[in-house]
């Protein structure tokens, strides 16, 4: 009924006046009924509202948590950005300083000579900052800045001013960049042209007309005229141009001579061994420069370096690698020549940047969150493999995984029982390990060389895992049972791993062996100590439970541990087995079970020794008691106990051995025959 009412009330066409009019027409009773209905509806709605609030409350909390995490990340991000910004301004200041340094360096030529190559490269880097679209210029290896300055470009015919430019004289070419007016930011010039010094004709324009301090640069079909501010500046420019051209000519000549020598050597070598004749042939290919220049003039290829730059900047690594592969594919067909070499060098420079970027992606840094997880790493790894850097990719990938494992383990909180913690620890570690293994197989398909690296990595990780494991398990003075459980857990996980082809159980065993031996020895000593202590006070009295009910209760109690004491009941409330024997039987079985849990084939002998020793200790106690004069009248009882221990308890141990599928040790078997001896000696 109330549902119907609710539907009516929540109808979009509901009109209160009409509804009330209809109701009131039916008289008082109907109104009262309606009132109670509305009350009910009210209550229900309140309830539902409460429920909804609760439901949404948990959702709200979840959302708030997500938001706070997001906030943290954003904060980190903005921090990083501001860091980067300050870094940028710092770099700009640096480059401006070095800019000045270069011009000063020009005067002292010796200084320049001592400058290492790397520094020159950095000097060039500031061009990138100042000049738009000149990255291809900066890339060429061995390029240096010799001289630069502001010039005014004039019309070569009319000598009218055209625009302001900035010219950069490099050691092999002249770059002209036009001034960009009203521009904010570091880019103050736009790349206009690069002229090789080889064919560049420089003309000193004498001050004959209204135009002073002019000079021309002729490079067919272009001819440009520039004007400096002062006669001195023009002199500097002409001298620098002349000087640089001469130096370049000298360098070229030396290179040519070296090439000639090399050719001669190769020719001689080829003559000496006709089999290598194709070597010298390949050298002649070098002369086909024009051919490979044509080959390289494809538009997309020319833009390839800049496109690569863009992709790297956008972190579009897939696109970049695609492009690199396309480029390399194309270039393999290209005739070999110096132009190709230069171009390749340009690409290789980019590839290096790209590799660095990708490696950085995989790099583990403390401030980097590991949220990206394995899938993010796979992306970078795949690209690195495509670039032929599988070894680095492998190394970084595994390092990344190590960090993830470490992080995950650190997230675990040590609380409650050791077994519980170890269960979590094993869960985290082994699932990470198997994740990594699966991920590795996916990421490095066919790179079998990397697999050994993975195996070594897995072993190392296992070692660090075991060190944590040992700290938690062995050093916390946990009982042997706990330790056995923990070891069993770890082994179980190892066996699971072997299903994906990674068997590290033997490593685990080897790492844990000594610790296990020690703890077994310790436990053995404790047990023997306990036996001796109890033997000292043993007066060989049957257990008296006073009432039959209590006795039954005790029997039932012991039955849960697997012993049936009913054959030993006498006089209704007496049990012929002493407290001491019962205690021992409990202890020895637990001990045996622990030993069996920890069992490994290497320890077979020692564990048999240990359990035999402990058992013997008790038997010795029985023997002593039998020989004791004071206990002569208890002989029957003692023998009964001996029978219980050596037959019932031993059987129990035997079944345990079969349960764990371990051969029953011969030494224990010998021990079980002891009872007959004892009986005989009686």
């Amino acid at each position: 009924m109330t549902d119907g009412l609710a539907r009516i009330l929540s109808k979009p066409t509901y009109e209160s006046e009409q509804f009330v009019a209809k109701l009131s027409a039916n008289g008082e009773d109907a109104l009262l009924e309606m009132k109670s209905k509305i009350h009910m509806l009210n209550d229900e709605t309140a309830q539902a509202l409460k429920k909804n609030v609760f439901k949404n409350y948990s959702q709200f909390i979840e959302t708030a948590r997500e938001i706070s995490i997001l906030e943290g990340e954003m904060y980190q991000l903005s921090h990083m950005l501001s860091d980067q910004k300050s870094e940028m301004t710092k770099m700009m200041e640096l480059s401006l300083v070095s800019d000045r340094a270069i011009i000063q360096g020009l005067k002292g030529e010796e200084e320049e000579k001592t400058n290492p190559e790397e520094e020159n490269r950095r000097n060039l880097a500031f061009l990138l900052e100042k000049v738009e679209g000149c990255s291809s210029v900066v890339d060429a290896p061995g390029r240096q800045l010799v001289h630069d300055g502001d010039l005014v470009e004039l019309d070569a015919e009319t000598h009218a001013q055209i625009q302001r430019v900035h010219a950069f004289l490099l050691n092999d070419s002249l770059m002209i960049a036009t001034w960009i007016p009203h521009r904010r930011g570091p880019m103050r010039y736009r790349f206009q042209g690069l002229y090789e010094l080889d064919g560049l004709a420089v003309v000193n324009v004498r001050d004959t007309g209204p135009v002073k301090n002019g000079f021309k640069i002729l490079n067919f079909p272009e001819s440009h005229m520039y004007q400096t501010d002062t006669a001195k500046a023009k002199r500097q420019w002409l001298d620098a141009l002349e000087d640089t051209k001469k130096k370049k000519a000298l360098r070229d000549k030396q290179k040519k001579e070296a090439a000639m020598r090399l050719a001669e050597q190769q020719l001689q070598a080829a003559l000496a061994s006709p089999g290598e004749a194709d070597l010298s042939k390949s050298f002649t290919d070098d002369k086909e420069e024009s051919v490979d220049r044509d080959y390289l003039s494809a538009d997309w290829l020319q833009e390839l370096p800049e496109d690569l730059d863009m992709y790297i900047a956008q972190r579009n690594f897939e696109g970049a690698v695609d492009l690199v592969e396309k480029g390399y594919d194309y270039l393999t067909d290209c005739p070999k020549g110096p132009a190709l070499k230069e171009f390749k060098a340009r690409i290789e420079h980019r590839v290096k940047q790209l590799t660095d970027g990708l490696m950085n992606e995989l790099q583990v840094s403390p401030e980097r969150s590991l949220r990206g997880g394995p899938r993010a790493a796979r992306r970078a790894v795949t690209q690195l493999i495509r670039l032929g850097k599988s070894a680095q990719a492998c190394e970084l990938f595994l390092r990344n995984r190590s960090a993830i494992i470490k992080y995950n383990i650190r997230q675990l909180k040590f609380e409650g029982a050791t077994t519980l913690y170890i269960r979590c620890l094993c869960g985290v570690f082994y699932s990470s390990l198997s994740d990594t293994a699966k991920e590795f197989i996916k990421a490095f398909p066919g790179h079998y060389g990397c697999y050994s690296a993975f195996v070594i990595w897995a072993k190392q990780e296992l070692q660090s895992f075991v060190s944590i494991f040992k700290r938690q398990v062995f050093e916390s003075k946990a009982s042997l049972s706990t330790i056995a459980d923990c070891v069993l857990l770890a082994r179980g996980h190892c066996q699971e791993l072997s299903t994906i082809g990674l068997d590290i159980e033997f490593c685990l065993d080897a790492l844990l062996d000594i610790s296990i031996q020690n703890v077994i020895e310790e436990t053995k000593d404790q047990l023997i100590e306990g036996i001796k202590y109890r033997a000292h006070d043993d007066v060989w009295r049957p257990m008296n439970h006073l009432t039959q009910a209590d006795c039954d209760k005790y029997i039932a109690d012991v039955a849960t541990t697997g012993y049936d004491l009913t054959p030993y009941i006498f006089d209704k409330c007496f049990i012929a087995i002493t407290m001491n024997s019962i205690q021992f039987s409990k202890v020895i079985v637990t001990f045996a079970e622990d030993l069996l849990k920890l069992h490994s084939s290497e320890q077979e002998d020692s564990s048999a020794d240990v359990i035999t020793t402990v058992f013997k200790a008790q038997i010795t106690h029985i023997e002593h008691s039998l020989q004791s004069e004071q206990l002569k009248k208890e002989h029957v009882l003692i023998l009964k106990n001996a029978q219980f221990l050596l037959e019932v308890v031993m059987d129990k141990i035997k079944t345990l051995y079969t349960k764990y599928n371990v051969p029953f040790p011969v030494k224990l078997q010998h021990l079980s025959s002891h009872y007959r001896k004892l009986k005989a000696s009686k």
């Binding site: 009319t158 064919g199 004709a201 000193n204 324009v205 002349e242």
Partner: protein, 207 residues
């Protein structure tokens, strides 16, 4: 380039001085430009001069590119030659070698300009030192006729025929620019041309 304002006479004739080192290209240029003779020899790298002259009643600009005789690089020399509209190929009459070198310059210019009718004058300089003459007038005239160009002997020192060679060349350039072949060759900075009948005479002027 279109931004340029034309404040100066529109017609500019570009003359290039070619020839071996030390034959007096710069001396001729300076004599023409400034009416002075520079005795000291200093090798030129590449200088350009500009001057307003009145040629047959019309004001034109002459743009002289004085090149380096010692320039080693053919590629750079090509770049100089490409910018020229007319050439004064200078040798020293007292140096047979410099006369021989004119053959190379001629060939290079023709290769670059790709038109054998390009305005060109063979100039034998240092005629004031005629007593040390090694290159005879006949020899030079013969070569000029082979090339279908004029041969003029000059002295940068005495200013003999200095104005003549420049003005003659300017006239040739002016005429050449009016022919379709010339227009084509010069406007495109000359890579292709046809062998058009040329009006350039081969009047030889000897001292």
């Amino acid at each position: 380039m279109s931004k340029a304002k034309t404040q100066q006479p529109a017609v500019i004739h570009k003359v290039i001085m070619v020839g071996s080192g030390g034959v007096g290209k710069s001396a001729l240029t300076l004599q023409f430009m400034y009416d002075e003779f520079v005795e000291d020899y200093e090798p030129t790298k590449a200088d350009s001069y500009r001057k307003k002259v009145v040629l047959d009643g019309e004001e034109v600009q002459i743009d002289i590119l004085d090149t380096a005789g010692q320039e080693d690089y053919a590629a750079i020399r090509d770049n100089y030659f490409r910018s020229g509209e007319g050439f004064l190929c200078v040798f020293s009459i007292k140096e047979q070698e410099s006369f021989q070198a004119t053959q190379d310059f001629r060939e290079q210019i023709l290769r670059v300009k790709n038109d054998e009718n390009i305005p060109f004058l063979l100039v034998g300089n240092m005629v004031d030192l005629a007593d040390q003459r090694q290159v005879s007038v006949e020899e030079a005239t013969k070569r000029a006729q082979e090339w279908k160009v004029s041969y003029v002997e000059t002295s940068a020192k005495t200013r003999a025929n200095v104005d003549k060679v420049f003005y003659d060349l300017l006239r040739y350039i002016g005429k050449y620019k009016l022919t379709p072949a010339g227009r084509k060759a010069l406007s495109q900075n000359a890579t292709n041309s046809s062998n058009h009948p040329e009006t350039t005479g081969c009047s030889c002027v000897a001292m």
